[in-house]
């Protein structure tokens, strides 16, 4: 495990400026705040957090579909933000993404043939025949038939579209695949199919995933390691067993207790106080302290750093350990 990780994210930060109302003063808010972690080859890294916590921004930054305000993403030791267009294009073969919404993420004017073929053309790979063989192979791998090649995306069902998105992202045999809420917009029955498909493909092609979801059950099922994001910050990161079995951060605890448990009738939920704080005037100190029932004076003053409490279990909390790893 001492070798260079496949993806190393270092101090990644993204700020957006928004013009606020009449006074035209530009306000800034931080969508992703100084996030660092590694993803090792062959693992599934799960990323959870509530809506608007910066998960998708982080995904876009990781693949350089957006320029960061600060920080770096190293792929096999190279910072991808230093690359020029051509070098980046070559790297894009290895770094791919499946977006949340299979209805919007396909060009409605391209038929399946064109959608599947475009990556090969951009990367100048293969002859016409090799391409069509490869496309047939990919469609077969995701359970779509080649008879669909002349269809347009709007003629497919949601599940078929998401399969197509996956086939497309696998076209150039990537090493690393980001699944940004890849199953969230699908039916529950189809979610299961797609997740199993993704896991099968991981075995088949030796992929590494960053799996983003707000669905903890899904993340728990697929991930090896899980990171929890709150308000642009990474607050806890651990092996799946550690995270779900030995919770350290009060926010993670609240997230976990929010999962409905069919057998836990009458169990008290750990309901958070107040809502998500303002993005433009974030709370000082620990961003979570206004909602945290364990918060002390120190928490409102000093932002906690991510620290290792043993076994690669990282947590950003002054009061880590106060819950004895139990979820109420």
């Amino acid at each position: 495990m001492n070798s260079e990780p496949l993806i190393r994210i270092e101090g990644l930060t993204k700020q957006f400026s928004i013009s606020r109302g009449k006074n035209l003063r530009k306000a800034k808010f931080t969508a992703v705040n100084n996030v660092s972690f590694d993803i090792n080859k062959g693992e599934v890294f799960g990323l959870v957090g509530e809506s608007g916590c910066g998960k998708s921004t982080l995904a876009l930054l990781t693949l350089r579909l957006m320029e960061p305000s600060g920080g770096a993403v190293y792929y096999k030791g190279r910072n991808i933000f230093d690359l020029k267009y051509n070098a980046m294009r070559v790297i894009r073969r290895d770094l791919q993404i499946v977006f949340q919404d299979p209805y919007d993420s396909l060009d409605p004017r391209f038929n399946l043939q064109q959608i599947m073929e475009e990556p090969f053309i951009i990367q100048k790979q293969g002859s016409r025949r090799e391409r069509s063989e490869r496309i047939a192979q990919l469609l077969d791998a995701v359970g779509l038939g080649t008879q669909l090649l002349n269809r347009y995306p709007h003629q497919l069902s949601g599940g078929q579209r998401q399969r197509l998105c996956i086939a497309r992202s696998l076209a150039l045999s990537p090493e690393f695949l980001v699944c940004d809420e890849a199953v969230a917009s699908l039916d529950v029955s189809i979610q299961a199919q797609i997740i199993n498909l993704l896991l099968d493909l991981k075995e088949e092609f030796g992929l590494t995933y960053m799996f983003i979801s707000h669905n903890l059950a899904v993340v728990k099922f697929v991930s090896d390691r899980v990171g929890v994001m709150y308000f642009g910050n990474l607050v806890e990161l651990a092996d799946k067993e550690n995270l779900f079995g030995n919770v350290q951060h009060p926010y993670t605890a609240a997230l976990l207790s929010a999962v409905p448990d069919p057998f836990g009738a009458g169990k008290r939920r750990d309901v958070l106080r107040s809502g998500v704080p303002s993005l433009i005037d974030p709370p000082g100190g620990c961003v979570f302290h206004p909602r945290c029932k364990y918060a002390t004076e120190r928490c409102s003053r000093e932002a906690p750093c991510l620290r290792d409490i043993g076994g690669g279990h990282l947590v950003a909390c002054h009061r880590a350990g106060i819950m004895n790893g139990e979820v109420k």
Binding site: L65, R92, F99, D107, P108, R109, Q155, C165, R168
Partner: protein, 337 residues
């Protein structure tokens, strides 16, 4: 336009689509059937409205020195002495026979007069729309790709100005600059002889191009499409900035643009009245305005009907072209047959 794989396939699809539309008799027939009540409505409104305008054709034609008896003879000869409602049904029955009547001022068949002037108007409308569209789409794409920067602001300023100014005013400025100052084109086109053809078109076409609001439509349509998820998908595939702009964004942005262009084409047949008057071109619009001046009732009716026919046809054309640009419309045709 597409630099895509399966270029040939796209071409075949387009040809097949056109053929299918030609074969889609029901669609076209229905549309053509619907034009009959529309044209009838146009005819009725025009017939009665022009008769409400003060002024008598006989008095205009015969001049101020005409005596009362001369005027009555003229009125009787042209059927203007009958009650209006009788005149209307006579004109209507002639219309169904394909007879638009005799022009009072030209003493010729209205149909022949209008058809002889028609090519000039059609030429102007199509040239103006085609050049204007190409120009506006280029400007719109430039504006969208430089959003918020100076080229964008400049293009917005230019197109807002062109949109806000009335056509005749732009036309007069074109005349002042290109005819008077530069001497590039004649001031009165139909009086000049031996002109190269493009000089007769230059002024009115330039006026149309400046007056089009399409650059703004293109810009906002492009900006909207550029925010779509599939644009991000294209970037993730490694498509270059230019490829994203032209291959993915423009094609999708064109769908609302085509509708706008069709509307512009329909309007331009009516707009020809102003343009042809300002630039003194002998088109249907000029024919119509001259007919109104002398209260030439049959000619006004005939010219208006022809303009209405062209507006309806350009709407039909728009629907066909929209199907070509948008596969979602095209393919839903496939499902039916």
């Amino acid at each position: 336009m597409r630099v895509l794989p399966g270029k040939g396939r796209t071409l075949i699809a387009v040809v097949r689509h056109t053929l299918r539309l030609l074969l889609m008799k029901r669609f076209i027939l229905t549309r053509l059937l619907f034009t009959i009540p529309t044209l009838l409505g146009v005819f009725i409104v025009v017939f009665f409205v022009i008769r409400m305008i003060p002024g008598d054709p006989a008095a205009v034609m015969l001049g101020p020195t005409a005596t009362q008896s001369q005027i009555e003879v003229y009125r009787a000869a042209h059927g203007l002495d009958k009650p209006v409602i009788v005149q209307f049904f006579l004109a209507l029955s002639n219309l169904f026979k394909g007879d638009l009547g005799m022009s009072l001022s030209h003493n010729k068949q209205v149909l022949g007069l209008v058809l002889r002037r028609l090519p000039d108007t059609v030429e102007l409308a199509f040239t103006g729309i085609i050049i204007g569209t190409v120009f506006a789409v280029i400007l719109g794409v430039i504006a969208a790709s430089f959003r918020g920067k100076w080229p964008d602001l400049l293009i917005i300023f230019y197109s807002t100005l062109g949109m806000s100014l009335p056509t005749f005013y732009i036309g007069l400025w074109v005349l002042v600059i290109f005819a008077l100052k530069l001497g590039l084109i004649p001031v009165v086109t139909n009086m000049a002889t031996g002109l190269p053809h493009w000089k007769t078109l230059f002024g009115p076409v330039l006026t149309m191009v400046v007056g089009m609001s399409l650059a703004r439509t293109t810009r906002s349509s492009m900006l909207e499409v550029l925010q779509e998820d599939f644009i991000r998908t294209a970037r993730a595939k490694g498509v270059s900035g230019k490829g994203v702009l032209f291959k993915h964004a423009l094609g999708n942005a064109l769908i609302p643009i085509v509708t706008m262009v069709g509307y512009g084409l329909a309007i331009s047949f009516g707009g020809a009245i102003v343009l042809e008057t300002v630039f003194a071109r002998n088109g249907v619009g000029k024919l119509l305005i001259d007919a109104i001046t002398v209260r030439d009732y049959p000619l006004i009716q005939g010219a208006t009907l022809v303009i209405a026919v062209f507006m309806i046809l350009s709407n039909l054309l728009t629907d066909i072209v929209t199907g070509l640009v948008d596969p979602r419309i095209r393919v839903s045709g496939d499902d039916r047959d």
